[in-house]
């Protein structure tokens, strides 16, 4: 066990690794589109419960 590393051993700097293309903005926009569609479909199909108040 390496001291001071929680037993995981030293963790290399993430910026030291080779890189690959990764479009963060495209990923977010696609995720937003998928989530929006899922929410609208679920809202249309399952709606939301609304039990009337008793007072």
């Amino acid at each position: 066990m390496s001291r001071g590393t929680g037993g995981w051993g030293p963790t290399p700097d993430s910026h030291a690794f080779p890189t690959r293309r990764y479009d963060l903005v495209k990923e977010f926009v696609i995720a937003l589109g998928v989530v929006t569609v899922l929410c609208v479909v679920a809202a249309l199909v399952f709606s939301s419960p609304d039990e009337p108040a008793i007072s």
Partner: protein, 258 residues
């Protein structure tokens, strides 16, 4: 309009080296620029190990939060009871509900993924802690949402919660049966708190980068020096390695965001 010259009398005898560097504005600018390494605010490249669908759930959680805020803003237009009497209001209430369901589902998958990757390694403890705080803050925000439904569900939940909170000794500080208080907590106070924590969390992720896999060797000591002839694409941040052609071929054919 003419540009000020160095002979501008308004600058007086101020030394050139000090000019514009000792102001609070300049200090704030340096602080913001130093929050993350140069080129890491919104990079178009990621380490090769970021090639797994598990990394998608963080951004899916963030996208769900955007839908939550948008649908919540629509609900504020008609007031707290609008959705009972309006088909449009009920639809947006349903979108709000299901976006919250997706938000928590993706957040929990993100949380467990990061747990099993021990993503707090490499001085990322604060990133993990802010993520946990965002989770608990979101629980509180969701709970106040249940309290302001103005129907039997909210009546039942608030009376049960009142007893629980009183038993825990904190019932004197806020009243879950006070609709006005809970509405303001839900639409203003708690979203600002959660939004702030999420912002800090994202800055920390950009600052520290994505945690390398457990047991990964430091490439600066375990790999041969990169061949300058094989380097493609934009240069990596200053002082960092650039990719090789073989890495690009493997990395660009799998995983999200490629």
């Amino acid at each position: 309009m003419s540009r000020p010259s160095t002979s501008d009398p308004s600058l007086g005898s101020e030394p050139a080296a000090r000019r514009g560097r000792d102001t609070w504005t300049a200090a704030l600018t340096r602080w913001v620029e130093g929050l993350v390494p140069k080129g890491q605010w919104l990079p178009d490249r990621q380490p090769v190990y970021v090639a797994s669908w598990i990394y998608v759930f963080g951004v899916a959680c963030l996208a769900s939060l955007v839908v939550i805020i948008a649908s919540g803003l629509v609900l504020t237009l008609g007031g707290v009871t609008w959705w009972h009497s309006s088909t449009v209001g009920h639809f947006f209430n349903s979108v709000h509900l299901w976006s919250v369901e997706l938000f928590f589902a993706t957040m929990v998958i993100h949380l467990w993924g990061k747990f099993f990757m021990a993503s707090w390694r490499g001085n990322r403890g604060l990133t993990w802690a802010t993520g946990a705080l965002a989770f608990f803050g979101s629980l509180g925000t969701a709970f106040t949402g249940y309290l302001i439904q103005t129907n039997f569900d909210s009546q039942w939940i608030s009376t049960q919660a009142k007893d629980g909170l009183n038993a825990a000794g904190i019932g004197a500080y806020f009243n879950v049966m006070n609709l006005g208080q809970m509405v303001l907590w839900h639409v203003s106070l708690l979203p600002l708190v959660v939004g702030g924590i999420v912002a800090v969390h994202i800055v920390l992720v950009r600052r520290r980068g994505v945690a390398p896999p457990i047991g990964a060797a430091d490439p600066t000591t375990s790999l041969p020096a990169p061949d300058p002839e094989a380097t493609l694409g934009a240069p990596a941040p200053e002082g960092r390695r650039t990719e090789s052609a073989s890495v690009r071929t493997v990395g660009s054919s799998q995983g999200p965001g490629a």
